[in-house]
């Protein structure tokens, strides 16, 4: 279970928090809470994966609420980097990833959350909407705005930096 769920939780937390070290703590804490609360889980109400996301999301919200405004969003998002000099292709891929991470970080929080849950975590629109406490229509509006912003920023950058 840990080997299957920890990467998924870590991806969620890294993309929402932007800090690898903090995301690792959240992912572990989420797993621990799930184990502790397994007996109280109501199987008819949600898939286990959705429930796991609920727990992790709450932990992420707590972290985000506790942040000062002047704290940087992002540090070492990609985690353990290869210390060896990267070939050009890998370097470019890393740079593209960093640009996306920065653009994601700059999105309004709810748009980022919608995109992370639906696109990166591959939850269904109804699951993502339920986790965010919004209607599917509201989720779609958030997704549409997020993608437009990212397209305007990233595709334009991509054309400038082939």
């Amino acid at each position: 279970m840990v080997t299957r769920k920890l990467p998924r939780l870590l991806s969620l937390a890294v993309r929402l928090l932007g800090r690898r070290s903090e995301a690792e703590e959240v992912a572990q804490e989420a797993l621990l809470r799930v184990w502790k609360q397994a007996a109280s889980w109501q199987p008819g109400q949600a898939r286990f994966d959705t429930w796991l996301h609920r727990v992790a999301l709450n932990l992420c919200y707590d972290r985000l609420r506790g942040r000062r405004d002047d704290e940087p969003y992002e540090d070492d998002v990609h985690g353990a980097a290869d210390p060896a000099p990267a070939p050009d292709e890998r370097l470019q891929a890393a740079q593209r990833g960093e640009r996306v991470a920065a653009a994601l970080a700059a999105l309004p929080a709810r748009q980022r959350e919608a995109l992370v849950l639906q696109y990166y975590q591959e939850l269904s629109n109804s699951e993502a909407a339920m986790l965010m406490g919004v209607s599917v229509e509201a989720l779609e509006s958030l997704l549409s705005r997020a993608r437009r912003t990212l397209r305007a920023q990233l595709v334009a950058e991509g054309k400038e930096k082939p």
Binding site: L6, V14, Q118, Y120, V155
Partner: protein, 138 residues
């Protein structure tokens, strides 16, 4: 599905129709197969953004982090007695984590010999003794 509806969903879910709401996929595929030049262009632009988004990867958890998570889960009381931040865990803690991991790994391995599907939750025992059957399906 109308042309406008297709473009609206493309704007929301991107170019991979597999990510679209299930109820919309068949109609969307049928419309896409007609090959309208405008749809093709819009899909190509959406695919470009999808490709960029896919470039934002998150490194998998280190083996040390996985083992730490297993060890902590195996012994929640141990967790409460020490600082949660694992980088601060000393050598003694690492040794304890390794021992617990070993115990758990053996337990899971032995249980796996009787289980029908690899990766399922254990039927009984260890830290998951109160796990409902539905949890094991995930």
């Amino acid at each position: 599905m109308t042309h406008d509806r297709f473009l609206a969903l493309l704007d929301i879910y991107g170019a991979d129709l597999g990510r679209w709401p299930e109820a919309e996929r068949a109609a969307a595929r049928a419309l896409a197969a007609q090959g309208s030049p405008e749809l093709r262009q819009q899909m190509a632009e959406a695919a470009l953004l999808d490709g960029l988004l896919d470039g934002h990867t998150v490194a998998r958890p280190s083996e040390a982090l996985i083992q730490q998570a297993i060890a902590v889960a195996a012994s929640p009381r141990e967790r409460s007695r020490r600082n949660w931040l694992w980088p601060s865990v000393g050598l003694a803690g690492i040794a304890l984590a390794g021992s617990l991991t070993g115990v758990m790994a053996v337990s899971v391995a032995l249980r796996g010999t009787a289980g029908p599907v690899a990766g399922d939750w254990p039927e009984h025992g260890t830290a998951f003794s109160s796990t409902p059957a539905e949890l094991r399906e995930e």
